[in-house]
Symmetry: C2
Subunit: 351 residues, 2 copies
Amino acid sequence: MEYRKIKDEDKDGGDTIAGDVESSPPKYPSGTLSAFGGSPIGRNKWKRKSIVTIALTFLTSSQAILIVWSKRAGKYEYSVTTANFLVEALKCALSLAALVRIWSNDGITDDNRLSTTWEEVSVYPVPAALYLIKNLLQYYIFAYVDAPGYQILKNLNIISTGVLYRIILKKKLSEIQWAAFILLCAGCTTAQLNPTSDRVLQTPLQGWVMAIVMALLSGFAGVYTEAIIKKRPSRNINVQNFWLYIFGMGFNAIAIVVQDFDAVVNKGFFHGYSLITTLMILNHALSGIAVSMVMKYADNIVKVYSTSVAMLLTAVVSVFLFGFHLSLAFFLGSIVLSVSIYLHSVGKVQR
Amino acid sequence: MEYRKIKDEDKDGGDTIAGDVESSPPKYPSGTLSAFGGSPIGRNKWKRKSIVTIALTFLTSSQAILIVWSKRAGKYEYSVTTANFLVEALKCALSLAALVRIWSNDGITDDNRLSTTWEEVSVYPVPAALYLIKNLLQYYIFAYVDAPGYQILKNLNIISTGVLYRIILKKKLSEIQWAAFILLCAGCTTAQLNPTSDRVLQTPLQGWVMAIVMALLSGFAGVYTEAIIKKRPSRNINVQNFWLYIFGMGFNAIAIVVQDFDAVVNKGFFHGYSLITTLMILNHALSGIAVSMVMKYADNIVKVYSTSVAMLLTAVVSVFLFGFHLSLAFFLGSIVLSVSIYLHSVGKVQR
């Protein structure tokens, strides 16, 4: 079970060597048993972890399919900033709805009350701010790489997440799990290869630097979110999500004003919205909540694996939906990715 | 140390379950120590194994470079069958020369005498015959796949060698080593990807069947050679090589008569021979001897890794020699291959 309280002193970045010593939860006697949770509590945790991971995989996969669908249906006519704002608002509303149900069932406790301290809430804007910076950089990187090249470079996220997960959360991966992580990155990239991919090798230095900075920002945002959520393991996830998404709404409101103020005033907030747009907003909101759940009950490593598998699923489903052809590179990448997943689980048992 | 006497009863294919039990040589206390050979004898064996493996890697790599060079220099004008015959003859001569030196130093013993029993020598024609059948099939497979496609399909050899190594030699690979072997195959294929590779997916069923049969023939020939050579561990490798190559000469003499008799009679045996041809023959002969040495002192798995690394080396050297460009797929394949080598060695220590 990866779930573990992140001690406050860990975050001060004091003694790194002390952090190296595995302070993992009680060891289970047998590998297989521990994988499925030895105790009933362990089994429940494992079940919850599996459900959120599978949900994230399918939501991410259908997200990509909706994007392909919307591209085929024509260009985006709605403003992206308003859609992003609605995604955050919907996530906020869903978290609040879940909380209202919990309050009526269990009553209000210290763990599920919405009111909070400045100390607890002060870290919540950080991930939203990081994603904002990353999204702004995204406009500039296209001066150096084309869109397929950017898709390839985005796989650097995998490595940056692994490295930051190790450094910031001080969680150890076994050597085999590191090997698996490198394979995951190589496998995903291989699966996405297309005849124009080689152009990415001609990316100028500035492009590489930006890609690495973006990967670090995105990795840091993910790992930081996990740190925030796991810092208070007993705190209800819906409260944590509420505060996370409130700041998301705020940052996206600023983005609307800065980027699309005129369009919204002249054409209206919902101009260009269609059935697909609505489905995409719904899907993004649910995926976002699934990501938070994975951070709470699993970790960033599981998230990365989940989204990688989603990429394969999307491609396979696209064969049936859109008549896509799978390339030899896709098959090879899928094999490498499958072996990576196997090694990740084997590496865990052996450490 | 992989080196182990293959018991005669093993070859009867009697009790497979008994064969599953690892009957490996004495375990060394520490992983690192055992990798470098704990005892002086172990260290010597490890050294010999390393030298023959490195020699094979460099010889195979330069072999491919000579082929590229000869292609650039123009078409083959010499008859391939005479060249193959000369390779076998040269290997035979080199083995004999080594034996003469050994005889003058150590005297003639039971292990290094050339005379043999029918029982010992009867199995030696088998690998040569298998390679002959495989080479004949090679002409027919091009009715179903193009040359780059055949290069891709040849990577099936890796899997067939692993499977036959397990079945025939009854040597166990750990689960991680199997994972590494699948990665080796995927990595080599990825490194060889080019814009036309996807065509291999349209290979008709007959093409796939032939490719698999050829992979099995080639894998079987390799594993069978290892079985022959290791059956008598104390027998001098040069004697074993001599008998192996004598039959190789015989089969290639038949091939000359069948395929190139007229050309040889009319134009002469050495028609079209150039400096490159001579270098290629020399290289093939030395590589052949290196393969036998690897079979004696290491195994087929090491051979497969060695030739895979040679493939990468060839590509890198070709960048400098012929101005080749390395593709993104090549880099990804190299990463996967490197991780595979790492996992193979880690998997060994842990079993």
